[in-house]
């Protein structure tokens, strides 16, 4: 009897607890917070963009992409420059630019953005960033009220273009950078927490561009494409960037989802290592270039989400693919070129050899961009068909192999014209002192053309120089350009104002809304 009574008592207490939980708290006015959950493969340590300090490595991309920071100028959908934090600029002389700033912009720290704030930010940029000093060549910055005057050490025809690179996002240097790499920017959102895998943002209530419609944004780095697909299908996230191509068909023609796509200048390409003896022979490099089936790579493996590449720039640029030529896909000719170079299959094992050694190369890449392992495996089969044994090393630790030189062909993805101008790609990849010239490629004619471009202000003439430079690197077969990416965002159909942009810079903006 006692036991029964005890059981009944415990049961009633438990029931009371359950019913207590069912009751909602009384509130005065019911508010519905708009929260946008965004999954992306493009944020993380392997991308070099963790944190929001635009001066560090490629973190400026995160600053601008996630609506925290803004640059003085930005790119339109047709990759033309338009004012953003600035109202305009004046070319004082060939070395000097005067930029006029908006008068109504405040950092999330409360400080007003003026010439002095911009000067402090740009001075820190050239002190900290490894690319900016050579791009901007800044000698002196003078701040005066709502203007900054920038004097360069030499002619600076595309200074404004470079300032529109995400590393040029203007942040409050007096507020500084926190331990978790958070900053005070001018954008529609401000971060409440930042880590290597997530960024939590809230709207900036004093955004100069007007009311921000979405209250909170949660950016999640999801490295696995299948996890991202399922997260979108289950509703755990509202939009994605970097969905596997195989998954896109699940969301096409589906009324619950929309897809926003844009051609970009992000190019998948391979660089030859000139330290590898076999690759010092131009015939071998050309044979490799001719053996890779770019058309099927783009149409089949990328499911048509791109265009086969000739050079580094897509067709929509005046200096793009239409202006240059390269040998077309021809495996038979590739074999003949190898034979001319002295590589033939003398022992019948299916691989060409010379002096008793098979032609074996290592293809280094990283899995952070889903397209790269696909390109690697396709290239492996293509090169096997012409008798080259290709070992694929697809690893997140690719930089260790780059530094140790343990690679022969390095494939990567790069936005080749983020400034809308061709100089950026050549400056970063193809010149003797280029930071990303991993293969140690050097061509004296290329260096001469680069110097000409450095001091050329006329856009049409710059395009002509670019075409000559592209043709030079293609003739040398120093690089093989496989495909230009068509980038897609997949999102729930209730999301608006979230559009793919050809620069790949702008994602979360004040236009973002949830219906």
């Amino acid at each position: 009897m006692k036991k029964l009574g005890l059981i009944c008592l415990v049961g009633m207490i438990m029931l009371a607890c359950i019913l207590q939980g069912c009751g909602g708290a009384k509130t005065g006015v019911e508010t519905k917070e708009k929260i946008f959950n965004y999954g992306t493969t493009a944020y993380g340590p392997s991308m070099g963009n963790v944190g929001l300090n635009p001066h560090e490595n490629y973190s400026g991309w995160s600053t601008v992409r996630y609506g925290v920071g803004e640059t003085l100028f930005k790119y339109t959908d047709t990759m033309e420059l338009e004012p953003w934090l600035a109202t305009g600029f004046e070319q004082v002389n060939e070395n000097t630019v005067k930029i006029n700033l908006r008068d109504d912009v405040y950092f999330t720290s409360g400080r007003k953005m003026d010439g002095q704030a911009v000067k402090e930010c740009l001075e820190d940029l050239i002190k900290v960033n490894d690319r900016a000093p050579d791009n901007l060549n800044i000698k002196k910055i003078v701040a005066d009220g709502q203007t900054v005057t920038i004097e360069s050490t030499k002619k600076a025809p595309i200074l404004i273009n470079y300032l529109s690179d995400p590393y040029g996002a203007i942040i409050d240097m007096k507020a500084g950078v926190t331990k978790d790499k958070n900053v005070a920017g001018t954008g529609p959102f401000m971060a409440t927490s930042v880590s290597d895998t997530e960024i939590h943002l809230v709207k900036n209530p004093k955004y100069w561009g007007g009311p921000v419609k979405v209250d909170k944004v949660n950016v999640k780095a999801i490295t696995d494409g299948d996890t991202m697909t399922m997260a979108l299908q289950s509703g755990e996230i509202d939009a994605t960037q970097g969905l596997p191509y195989a998954s896109l068909k699940l969301f096409k023609n589906n009324k619950d989802f929309t897809i926003s796509s844009s051609p970009t200048s992000r190019t998948f390409f391979a660089a030859m290592n000139y330290e590898t003896p076999a690759l010092q022979d131009i015939k071998v490099r050309r044979a490799i270039a001719m053996a890779i089936d770019k058309k099927n790579f783009t149409e089949v493996l990328l499911n048509g989400n791109g265009s086969p590449a000739v050079g580094p720039f897509p067709d929509n640029f005046t200096f793009g693919d239409k202006s240059v030529t390269t040998a077309s896909y021809d495996q038979q000719k590739a074999k003949e070129l190898l034979a001319e170079a002295g590589w033939e299959d003398t022992n019948g094992d299916g691989y060409v050899d010379k002096n008793g050694q098979n032609l074996t190369l290592t293809w280094l890449t990283y899995p952070g961009r889903q397209e790269l392992p696909l390109l690697a495996e396709a290239a492996q089969a293509s090169l096997k068909a012409i008798g080259i044994e290709l070992k694929v090393n697809s690893t997140a630790n690719y930089m260790d192999f780059i530094k140790s030189g343990k690679w022969d062909i390095y494939a990567s993805a790069f936005v080749t014209a983020p400034t809308g101008d061709p100089a950026y790609f050549f400056a970063t990849h193809t010149l003797e002192k280029s930071l990303r010239n991993r293969g140690h490629y050097v061509n004296a004619y290329l260096e001469t053309l680069a110097k000409q471009m450095d001091s050329e202000f006329d856009k049409a003439k710059r395009a002509q120089i670019a075409i000559k430079m592209e043709q030079t690197i293609l003739d040398d077969a120093a690089f093989i350009f496989a495909s230009h990416l068509k980038m897609s965002f997949v999102m729930k159909s209730k999301i608006t104002g979230f559009k793919a942009h050809p620069s790949d810079y702008y994602e979360i903006t004040a236009n973002l809304d949830i219906k």
Binding site: G225, D226, T229, P244, A246, S247, K249, L250, D293, N296, F297, E299, V300, L301, P367, P373, L374, A376, E377, A378, Q380, A381, S382, K384, K391, V392, N393, S394, T395
Partner: protein, 268 residues
Amino acid sequence: MSTQKKLWIFTFLTVLLLLIAIFAYFITPYDPNAQNLAKALQAPSGAHFLGTDSYGRDMLSRVIAGAQVSVLSTLALVIIISLVGVTIGILCGYLGGRVDNVIMRVSDIFLAFPGMVFAIAVAGILGGGILNAVIALATVSWPKYARLARSQVLVIKESDFLKAARLSGTTGWKLILRHIIPNVANMLLVTAVLDIGTLMMEIAGLSFLGLGAMPPTAEWGSMMSKGRSLIQTSPWVVLAPGCAIFLTVMVFNLLGDTIRDYRDPRQS
């Protein structure tokens, strides 16, 4: 069905699997590594019984070729860990004293780590490749056999027949080879056969994580990993290697169970 009949059936199936693994590249209908992008992701049909993958490679050919890597590497792993582990265990049990203490403390260190996590760490350091995956798993798996062998030897050491053998002048290696190993072998054989399934799953697991077989090698675990994103649109790419793993593990497990039942009916 009698135990003997079951033993025949499972032995036959195992031998069949081994023959498929050994002669895989002779019996595949297509070259397992030959790409044909025009035929990518075709559903199972008369021309391609298990369909094609995202590179247009024939799935049936790749599953058969995968048997060579998956089955033979697993057998190699089992042989390595049982030979190494049993040798160490017998020496520890027979010699005792400091040798036993030191080696058993070393094996305790290995056993303290979660096996698969440790294997992933070792494979991560060594790099990708099926050989490195086998080395990584061997590193973490030998202590089990060492301990088993040691415990058996400790029991046998106290048995009358061994004392008699010692009294008759048999010592050292002769004692181990003639009296200890034959009495330990039965139990360890059953353990090894039962472990084949588990170890095959572990090799597949490392390959799934990108730490095992490198492209374009057909290996069931890496095939499942690459096909994950296609499970909703082209499920055959994942199901084919997945079923192969399931059937193979089942055959070896059932073989191990049957051998155990046959050798010791009290346990059936």
